[in-house]
Symmetry: C2
Subunit: 461 residues, 2 copies
């Protein structure tokens, strides 16, 4: 397998992709790590065995045999390489000073129905490239099979219409989707992230702000869902007709993390998907914070029972490397439209593989669910006891948060917890959030809960 | 040292930075790699021992002692960590399934005068974050010490002025600076990179298009410099007064790579810096392709004899990880304004360190200069011999290119070279570019030159 890194054309089972040349060649054999790590890295396809951009394959290389200034092809021909993966291999192939790290493909965790995966470097650029994938798909739908016009090809070179279209991405107030200029245009959680940075004038809708406890506020919260969804519907219409800046995609977190651990109901997400589809836009679920198990499922949106899979799902953080999954219909026809020097990092796939193996072996998703339920129940009891201090306890799995009655009180509680040996995080205006490891147990939860109880007691008196 | 990862406040010699928490903790001890790699990674500062964002330090952790769900501080206190580096540590600290990779800081390669370094994931996000650093600096100059206004804090949350200013970055035709939405707005090399992707309407100036050979076209090329520089000056003026979208920074490659290996004279860059400074904008030199030695200097702009260092220099590719250097005056006052989950990758610093050690030990920059001069001279002879096929041979070090008389002929030459066992790259309309490893010798050059001669002969008859 390792011998035929580039052997996968569109029809071959090995499924390799010319786009990954530079990724794969970052790590080369003949080092101390090699013996332990002799497995093929195919990080660019976390699920599908079908390549994305076979058209950019030029040549099938054998990176195990390639040495120094020579790249060896699968037939054993050695070629003098004066191009060196677009200048990314300073010491040539298999220099002993550089290590190789290889891992098996990790096929088992792709969201159902999302057959394509592209790996990237971090969460921000995963969202950026997911946006690009959406824009390309949206433009191609409008183009309806027609080739690029001369005017399009020329105008895009200086960022002008029609080649550079005025498409937009709808996002939600309180959202956090990253910090590069495109993703930052959809981030609306804290002013310090956004101040002084130019942004696209894209639409922002309200995200539901629920009243807790949920079971006592069913009607109000349903109305809140409806208010926000009506806004989405209006904005999609307005940006198409009035603003002439049609919304090509909607990006949403399954739980708004940075913005304050704001939850919305499965019904909200189901209806959001219907509205998005009605307007011909793509639905992108940003699982950068929630993906990888903390909600008790590999992907948080699996809690929502959607009519069909979302069009794209982005990931990073717990997944150790960034990237996005998407449905078949969003695959760009031409190669090199979505590209990056490294296209993710094979080294990180080793980390991810170790993480996934442990999740499986130790049944950690089940543990997260059990420990999360326990913690949530205990926190709810504390909330009943200390209702003048804390409220709105909420969570899925161990992805749990509660609010303090003020931002000052929240900060005081965090500080006192720290003095008692507990590290938690703040988010939103007055929320405290838990983001424990997947290995967090009920015993750990008890230590945290005891410390919190003691802090809350001090706080009350 | 490794024990006090967070011990560096602004005044301490260890120079650690709270921003790097998540970077550092990606790699943790107790694994098979640990014994060999017991060196402290401080990839976030490639030169300076002064931290950038000491204000975001919350707490001084000892990541060697931290285990499982517990983070240990430098005083030996174990804290239960229910926050886990903003949810980025799925298996907690020091889980045996995860590796640690540590390396010494690599101080010796920072461009002279650029005292601050921030590491990032790739070239695109290095440029994006360099833009953000420029915008923040530009806005702060205008603000002149005043705090953010309420209007600014509110308006930026929905991407509106004044909090979200209409600042711009000037770039050059033919430039390539990356593919995320901000960096792509400054990329103008190929339509396939830009088609259908929304972009900022920022100014684009002409980059010099020289006549070769240079020594026979001195006057024309000087006029070409003047034409392009006058355009830059006009655009900077126009975008400030007419378009009300002032240029906060100018981004330029020292050699336009993707755009066709277009060179400009030292005088062009000297004058560009003066014009940029005159208009109060920052000069960002993008060394993503050229940095790390291929031009015979660590940074290509060192060939230009500038009046003072550029304000920012971005890097990636040969440097193995992305990032940017900048001068002291561009350091944001507040923390968290430029941030990323990982802020670069300590694992990559190991690669970089191995590369740098080898460059030093084998005196590779000198070799690049010698072999480059030799190759350039030989190519110039070939050009004289085959002047109906090739022209405009140019280069610094082994960063060499020549033009074919047509795009079709260029493609044919590349294909024939491949059949003779030589891999080169195309760029621009009709250029062939060499990007060999730093270990490329005169013997390798001869193999390439012999093959090229034989292809050119076939081509002529």
């Amino acid at each position: 397998m390792a011998k035929r890194i580039f052997s996968g054309g569109a029809e071959k089972a090995s499924g390799n992709d010319g786009n990954t040349r530079t990724s794969i060649t970052q790590f080369i054999p003949g080092t101390e790590f090699d013996a332990k790590m002799k497995r093929v890295t195919r990080c660019y396809m976390l699920k599908s065995r079908r390549p994305q951009q076979a058209a950019s394959v030029q040549f099938f290389a054998d990176y195990e045999k390639s040495v120094g200034n020579y790249i060896v092809d699968i037939d054993g021909n050695a070629l003098l390489d004066v191009y060196m993966q677009i200048s990314s291999m300073p010491l040539g192939y298999n220099h002993p000073a550089v290590l190789r790290a290889l891992a098996d493909p990790v096929n088992q965790i792709a969201p159902p129905g999302l057959s394509h995966a592209t790996t990237m470097m971090c969460g921000s650029c995963s969202n950026e490239n997911a946006f690009k994938t959406i824009f390309i798909w949206y433009a191609e739908k409008r183009r309806n099979g027609a080739p690029f016009t001369k005017e399009e090809m020329e105008s895009c070179m200086t960022n002008q219409v029609p080649g550079t279209p005025r498409f937009s991405i709808l996002s939600f107030q309180g959202a956090f989707h990253g910090r590069t200029l495109g993703s930052l245009s959809t981030t609306h959680s804290k002013y310090i992230h956004k101040m002084d940075i130019p942004a696209f004038d894209w639409p922002t809708a309200s995200f539901p702000a629920y009243k807790y406890p949920l079971n006592e506020n069913v009607r109000e919260n349903r109305q809140e869902d409806e208010r926000c969804l009506a806004q989405v519907d209006e904005l999609l219409e307005k940006y198409k007709t009035e603003k002439r800046m049609p919304v090509a995609g909607v990006i949403v977190e399954p739980i708004q993390a940075e913005g304050g651990d704001n939850h919305a109901s499965p019904e909200f997400f189901q209806e959001l998907q219907r509205i998005t589809k009605k307007h011909g836009a793509a639905l992108l679920i940003d699982e950068v914070q929630t993906g990888g198990g903390p909600t008790g499922k590999m992907w948080c949106y699996e809690h929502f029972d959607l009519d069909s899979p979302p069009d794209l799902v982005t990931f990073s953080k717990k997944m150790q490397l960034g990237g996005y999954y998407h449905v078949e219909s969003l695959r760009p026809k031409q190669s090199y439209r979505v590209f990056n020097t490294w296209m993710g990092d094979p080294g990180k796939v080793i980390l991810l593989e170790a993480v996934l193996e442990t999740i499986r072996k130790e049944n950690l998703l089940h543990r997260v669910t059990t420990v999360g339920d326990y913690t949530l129940k205990q926190l709810t009891s504390l909330q009943d006891e200390f209702s003048t201090i804390m409220n709105s306890t909420r969570g899925r799995g161990t992805f749990i948060a509660f609010n303090c009655v003020s931002s000052e009180l929240r900060d005081a509680v965090i500080k006192k917890l720290l003095s008692k040996g507990i590290q938690v995080g703040g988010c939103g205006t007055a929320a405290i959030r838990l983001r424990p490891a997947l290995t967090f147990t009920e015993q750990h939860a008890d230590i945290f809960l005891d410390a919190l109880r003691s802090v809350l007691k001090q706080q009350r008196f």
